[in-house]
């Protein structure tokens, strides 16, 4: 498990992207450095209860999360969370997940 979302940060203008880009749409630079954004807030969630062509399906919880740096990402949830929950983001087996952040 690796904390955060991998973001490619444009070394010219500082914009961060997920998924990675080849050219920065903001400034046109092709130079990026790897960065990580650690947290965000849940905007919407859903439960995927059924998938066409998949008989072995079990429900999955997904969230749209706006990171603290502004990227909007899709993250898996291990359990349902209400909208506006502050979350920590992490990678597990190469996929992005979110879980409720500890209260400050």
């Amino acid at each position: 498990m690796t904390p955060g979302v991998p973001v490619s940060r444009c070394t010219s203008c500082g914009e961060g992207y997920f998924p990675t880009r080849l050219i920065c749409p903001h400034c046109g630079s092709d130079a990026f450095r790897p960065d990580r954004v650690l947290d965000g807030k849940v905007e919407q969630t859903t439960v995927v209860r059924h998938a066409a062509g998949r008989s072995d399906w079990r429900p999955h919880h997904l969230a749209t999360v706006r990171t603290s740096n502004g990227q909007i990402i899709i993250a898996g949830l291990d359990a349902p969370l209400p909208n506006d929950t502050r979350v920590n983001l992490f990678e597990r087996d190469g996929s992005l997940f979110a879980r409720e952040a500890a209260a400050k």
């Binding site: 905007e43 859903t46 059924h50 998938a51 062509g53 749209t64 909007i72 899709i74 993250a75 190469g94």
Partner: protein
């Protein structure tokens, strides 16, 4: 030279293809029917535009070979739900530039549910690497969350969305090619099995197999008893926001004013709309972006204009009733608008239809569609 649409063909759609049916045979059937409809010979066709996810490993030239076509103009489109409008635009310009005189535009797919699931998981790198491993189960989950955003932003309830599949199912009763033609009741819609909250079964476009085609040429090639269909305007917007927005406004917002100005007509002048309907939320989003919904009142438009049939939307039954034959879904609306404007729409004919607006929407790169286009079509003289 002014290019027009002179004919159309649909293979017929099915949930369960027969063993002898394949992507190639569906595409062929649509081509043959379009030729018959336009009263052209195969040798009259000198251009081909084609979009199909499942014709691999064949490319457009392989399909020309299989179709028995010798060509001087060729396009292999990959834009899924937006391919129909994209190919139509290229074909019109191809004929008007003198690059070809009669272009067959065809799209379709045949895929079993297993192939369909595999395609959805490998749609592009972003989906393959970041969504499929989460078990996103295809785009339903993305449009589930988009629908939640639309409900919150525009004050919509589930029942408001229900008017779209219910009304389209009633239209489908008049379309022999629609896969689902039995009436759908609002109660059934509301009680349907959930798929991805808040979407249920009737909100999600059913995958089918089939293909659709149109022929773009000049008016002198149009059969004598038929009127050609003229494209008054066609505009597209591709990767309009880099997937950084909420998806509630499509790229049509960038081109709608130009579309109506070029067409020389107003949204209220059109007699029918064929709007890409992978999900009810996207029907409302595109209608709104095309300035067909007054005052951003999506709920009222769904309830009154669509629900009470004050304004004909997706008279073929749309993809929600006719089914989405993969890339063929991108042609469904254009074929329907052409048939309506040629006054060949049988039991579902909109009386005296003269002007139609058609849209295509697709390529869900990460969270929502990146490609959108629309055309204003007119019954020719």
């Amino acid at each position: 030279v002014s290019a027009v649409i002179i004919g159309s063909g649909e293979s017929g759609y099915t949930r369960h293809p027969a063993p002898e049916q394949s992507t190639h045979t569906f595409l062929r059937d649509a081509v043959i029917l379009a030729l018959k409809d336009a009263q052209l010979k195969l040798s009259d066709i000198d251009g081909l535009a084609i979009c199909s996810f499942s014709m691999e490993p064949d490319k457009s030239i392989d399909m020309a070979w299989r179709f028995g076509m010798s060509l001087r103009w060729l396009l292999h489109d990959t834009n899924g739900g937006a391919s129909g409008i994209n190919m139509l635009g290229h074909a019109i310009r191809g004929v008007e530039a003198g690059a070809a005189s009669a272009i067959m535009v065809v799209a379709g797919d045949a895929m079993g549910l297993e192939y369909f699931a595999k395609m959805q998981a490998n749609y592009n790198r972003a989906v393959r690497d970041h969504l499929a491993p989460l078990g996103h189960g295809g785009p339903n989950s993305m449009f589930a969350m988009l629908t939640q955003r639309q409900m919150a932003a525009f004050g919509l309830e589930r029942k408001d969305y229900g008017h779209i599949p219910v009304s389209q199912r009633a239209w489908a009763a008049g379309n022999p090619n629609a896969v689902y033609r039995n009436p759908l009741l609002m109660e059934e819609y509301l009680a349907a099995e959930p798929v991805a909250d808040p979407l249920s079964r009737y909100d999600c476009v059913p995958p089918v197999s089939g293909a659709s085609a149109i022929i773009v040429s000049t008016a002198d090639r149009c059969p004598r008893h038929r009127r050609p269909v003229r494209v008054r305007a066609l505009k597209q917007s591709l990767n309009y926001d880099h997937q950084a927005g909420d998806g509630l406004r499509t790229g049509l917002t960038k081109v709608a004013s130009e579309l109506w100005t070029t067409a020389g007509v107003q949204p209220e002048d059109v007699d029918l709309a064929a709007i890409y309907d992978d999900y009810p939320a996207m029907v409302l989003a595109q209608l709104n972006d095309l300035k067909l919904i007054p005052d951003d009142d999506l709920a009222r438009f769904a309830r009154v204009d669509i629900g009470e049939r004050k304004f004909p939307v997706n008279t073929s039954g749309g993809l929600l009733s006719a089914g989405q034959a993969g890339a063929g879904g991108g042609m469904n609306g254009t074929v329907e608008a052409v048939r309506q404007l040629q006054h060949c729409a049988g039991d579902r004919q909109v009386p005296n239809a003269r002007l139609a607006v058609v849209s295509g929407y697709g390529m869900v790169m990460y969270r929502y569609g990146a490609c959108v286009g629309a055309a204003v079509l007119e019954r020719g003289e």
